[in-house]
Point group: C3
Chain length 329, copies 3
């Protein structure tokens, strides 16, 4: 059974096929290609784009989405094996996931990070439990470790502007924020850009390293695709001549408590016109959204000629449509 929980779940052929179909169908999709299909969506965290774009994919394709909000409209779910369930979770994933599998054709889950540690994020226990207990394909709508649908939309957006991703210099830069965010989005951008053969430049302040397994996996993907990855501890060098600047806030590598002065200390990492002008003249600006204006990115960039953030969000719809078609048909 096919699952899409990591970029590694898609080999280079599937990746190529899904991105090609997404671009093709953006112009004119086949009608009702998901007719009669039901997507079960389980959210452990709030969502706007993900929820609306997946619902729209199912509606446009003639299928239906069913939404369960764990902890809100439904209850909290236990994932630990062998535990005596006498605390606040009244149901185990061992029951909830097989049961949901009986009602739907695909299960999509937003499990998110529990904000315990990088090791906990990398282990991705909740999503792994879904994959283990499900009897239908599982799609990640962002877990602690990765956000593959976002990675696909990111690369689709880049390839719409520059056609050929191989060897294309693109920069993932850390951005300031008011709190430490999980690393699923930067991880997925890094992995997907690597798998498409980009020259990926990753810039962040010391102490904000991505997990060593992610970096090793990206290295292997880049090698296989003929691309490369470089890391920078200051921002400007990573921006000079680049074709795409992807700004994203994430938390420190070793602890989830952000030092009190993290934001003020690094607030010159906020992307402004100055940084955009270091990049190539045709460079584009990307962000997964939601974005905190004038904290992560200045208004002048989001409202300026460089920004592709709305197209990037629209592309979530197109890659997810192609992904569901690939999983189900």
């Amino acid at each position: 059974m096919k699952h899409v929980t990591r970029i590694a779940d898609l080999g280079p052929e599937a990746l190529e096929r899904i991105l090609a179909r997404a671009k093709e169908w953006k112009a004119g999709p086949p009608p009702r290609h998901l007719r009669g299909k039901i997507l079960g969506m389980i959210f452990f965290n709030p969502s706007l784009r993900t929820r609306a774009s997946f619902e729209a994919v199912m509606a446009r394709g003639g299928g239906r989405a069913i939404i369960i909000e764990a902890g809100a409209g439904a209850w909290k779910l236990e994932d630990r094996v062998g535990v005596v369930m006498n605390a606040d979770c009244p149901e185990h994933l061992k029951e909830a996931v097989p049961v949901m599998s009986r009602y739907v054709d695909v299960l999509a889950v937003r499990s998110f990070s529990r904000s315990i540690s990088d090791e906990d994020d990398n282990a991705d226990a909740v999503l792994r439990a879904f994959q283990k207990y499900a009897t239908v394909p599982v799609i990640s709508m962002e877990s602690a470790r990765e956000h593959p649908c976002q990675g696909l939309a990111d690369l689709m957006t880049i390839e719409e502007s520059f056609t050929e991703p191989k060897g294309l210099p693109v920069t993932l830069t850390w951005a300031p924020h008011i709190k430490p965010l999980p690393k699923a989005v930067p991880n997925s951008f890094l992995l997907t850009a690597a798998a498409r053969g980009c020259e990926v430049r990753v810039a962040h302040p010391p102490g904000f390293e991505l997990h060593h397994e992610i970096r090793a996996e990206a290295e292997a993907l880049a090698k296989n695709a003929g691309g490369k990855i470089c890391y920078f501890r200051e921002q400007d060098s990573a921006l000079i001549g680049t074709r795409a600047i992807y700004a994203k806030a994430w938390g420190p590598a070793t602890a989830r408590e952000l030092p009190a002065d993290s934001v003020t200390r690094h607030n010159d990492w906020m992307i402004t016109a100055r940084q955009m002008n270091l990049a190539a003249p045709e460079a584009i600006f990307l962000h997964c959204l939601p974005v905190r204006r004038n904290v992560e990115v200045a208004d002048e960039v989001l409202d300026g000629k460089w920004s592709r953030v709305i197209d990037q969000a629209e592309n979530r719809f197109h890659v997810q449509r192609a992904l569901l078609d690939w999983l189900l048909n």
Copy 2:
């Protein structure tokens, strides 16, 4: 691009056409006239009738509704321009609205009042931001200033009982409540009844005046439609011989803190059989619902021969169906 955020967005022809179609299709609607269409509904406040009636319209018409609850299933949305977003809103309407526009065919928004001041309500910042940033038509499902779908349903209900609205005496009367409510519903009833040429009588205790811009707009609409508007500071004179009594609670004009004795001081404004008997024998009773029984209106009225409140709520469905058809087809 057409929007429906105020009664003024509909000229007299569109108003006539939508009401006529709503009445015609109540008997037998065309099948699947919204086939393949997606309505995106964004709620900043809870809803029962609005949500269920719009979902039913889309379902009956062969389309689909997608629901986003800002602050619940999704996050809080910022509307101020140029702000440094370091507080509790992680996303700006500048991103959320264009993104949603990419997934759906129409955006409906319940922005409600922020309960700051009448000036703030009249400025209607959140709804205006939707209208500014959207790339698809925007429908108001009640904003701080108006509730046009309610106004349409109100007049449809009156016209079902009396056919000709021109010159028909109808009364909007303030009602007691346990807290100060926004004025969108009385505003929309006044504006719509004025636009249909009714003889509109508005009664409220001193200090509960509607906003001067609304009154001026209603005056102009009445003049244009050959109707008139009269204001009363006591209730009985406004009721004598009237054909429809519309009861609605709303807050004082100048401050949102209700004087401690507001309810008890004016509790004789609650509509009972005594008031209904001042009206014409064939008079009907209207309320937008939800209604606090025995606070705003006595059981004997809601459960009596006069009440059309359930039909009025049903008519939300019919006018919204006609409205969406007018916007989309």
Copy 3:
């Protein structure tokens, strides 16, 4: 108008017909038999299985479900007659239910127990109000008194393993829990198994008696169907040679405060392999879910050869499909 709020709402013929159709359609259902139909679902309490299974039934059948969460996406609803509504419920069921009836073809409601007393549960005021005020059929998705869709799924699961329910020994056993739960599920299992003519054995510690009206109703149903009901105050005797063990936690009969030592005092009532081995070799294990593992039931039972809990949850879908077809077609 047909309603399904209690097992007694279905005579033996309807019960037989719905179960037969559910089994038949599990293999291959008719396409789009609910085309154009809208199910309105109102939840006063969270739900996972019920919500997802009903949404899936409507989607698979070509219809649509509309979901209202009272107190969450919508507001709290008053059910008392004649009350002055000056407290926390802004809307009365007298309005909400007729209004919803105008938008949908069937109303499903989860009203649940208010955890006041067994008498209050048995009176089932909220569900009775729905039945009184609705102008379309009402389905209970679990009220304070009964959970008829669960009872139907329970018996379908038993009949899939043993074909003939008449005279079949089946055991409903109380199970430990961290808090006192309502009795709707044990009530419905007892009533449905009685109506199908099983030899029903009910085991619970002293003080956890089911309501006398439920027991009398079950007695009459058993007599009519040629079955019988026996009560046990210790567990083992009720298990020997039985074909199905249904474990369910519920609260004490006379008070909702569980004595401090209730769980520890009766924790030998937790179902383990030891208990399963007292039953017939082909015996199956049932639970309505959600289940607290290693509190109500040991992992070895839920993960062992006996368990049919996932099939039982799947069967919710099948019986509800047959039920809606019976109500609407």
